[in-house]
């Protein structure tokens, strides 16, 4: 028997690891990987609440599936942007993409 809070703690830990990756990495692809970790953490939360509180309704599974869909779309567009930026600037380092700064 696993208490609900264990899943929530796992999800919180995974989210914060992803958050650190997003904030601290220089490479744009590594930042996207951090975002994927955060989306996974959110999904663990949704499925855990579905199983523990409303297993007779499908709302938790439905929204987890939507998160999966949006994550797939986000990864495709994000990586296309990274490749396009690399082609134009010869760099995928987020700090060096500062055209709009000046």
């Amino acid at each position: 028997m696993i208490p609900l809070s264990w899943y929530l703690l796992l999800s919180a830990a995974l989210f914060c690891i992803g958050l650190y990756g997003v904030l601290a990495r220089r490479n744009a692809i590594a930042i996207l990987m951090g975002v994927e970790l955060m989306l996974n953490a959110v999904n663990i939360n949704l499925v855990a609440f579905w199983r523990y509180l409303t297993p007779d309704r499908s709302v938790g599974l439905v929204w987890a599936t939507f998160v999966l869909t949006v994550a797939a779309a986000e990864a495709a567009v994000g990586l296309a942007l990274v490749i396009s930026v690399y082609r134009n600037r010869d760099s995928v380092i987020a700090e060096e993409l500062d055209t709009l700064k000046n």
């Binding site: 208490p3 995974l14 958050l19 220089r26 590594a30 663990i44 297993p55 499908s58």
Partner: protein, 182 residues
């Protein structure tokens, strides 16, 4: 009891490989660790009796998104062989912020939900008829296409996927004259 052991193994796999993803210098190894982390999350879904989502996780995350990330890494690899630090100048601040968020979330969760296994709400999975769990995918499929439930978000998701497909092709397409430089 055996469930708890499986949970700890899966959680350890997921969190360890997630830490590897955000700290390792070699991006390709980070992508491989990301696949392991996704696999651990798929196991968590199966443990939560949502095997359909576990399967979808395998196909979409490990089968598609990870491969997409690896392709992107290989297309931009020339810059990945430097010995520069993988972190930017705000890495310490990011670590402090993430740790602070973690502490706050842990305190909130521990205050709201009991930690010890037992029989109360949130202490163990709600006991339901196994038939309800087995038909959960069928119910989810019906609610996706029923007008009273989620047909509108479902169609919006379809449009989003189409827009992402077209958009990523357009964005990644080389502009005229650029092919010569590559």
């Amino acid at each position: 009891m055996s469930q708890q052991i499986i949970f700890f193994i899966l959680a350890a796999i997921t969190l360890t490989s997630a830490v590897v993803v955000v700290t390792i210098r070699n991006l390709f190894h980070a992508a491989l660790a990301l696949m392991v982390s996704f696999l651990g999350v798929a196991g968590i879904y199966v443990l939560l009796e949502a095997p359909f989502l576990g399967m979808a996780q395998l196909l979409v995350y490990i089968g598609a998104i990870s491969i997409l990330i690896i392709f992107a890494i290989m297309m931009t690899r020339r810059l990945m062989q430097t010995n520069e630090s993988p972190f930017n100048s705000q890495a310490v601040g990011a670590l402090v912020g993430a740790a602070l968020a973690l502490v706050i979330l842990f305190v909130v969760i521990i205050r709201l939900y009991p930690m010890a296994p037992g029989d109360g709400v949130g202490q163990s999975a709600m006991a339901v008829d196994p038939a309800i769990l087995q038909s959960s995918v069928a119910r989810m499929g019906r609610s996706f296409v029923s007008a009273e439930a989620y047909v509108l978000p479902f169609e919006v998701a379809s449009v989003l996927l189409l827009a992402a497909l077209v958009g990523s092709i357009v964005i990644a397409w080389p502009r005229r004259g650029e092919e010569d430089n590559q």
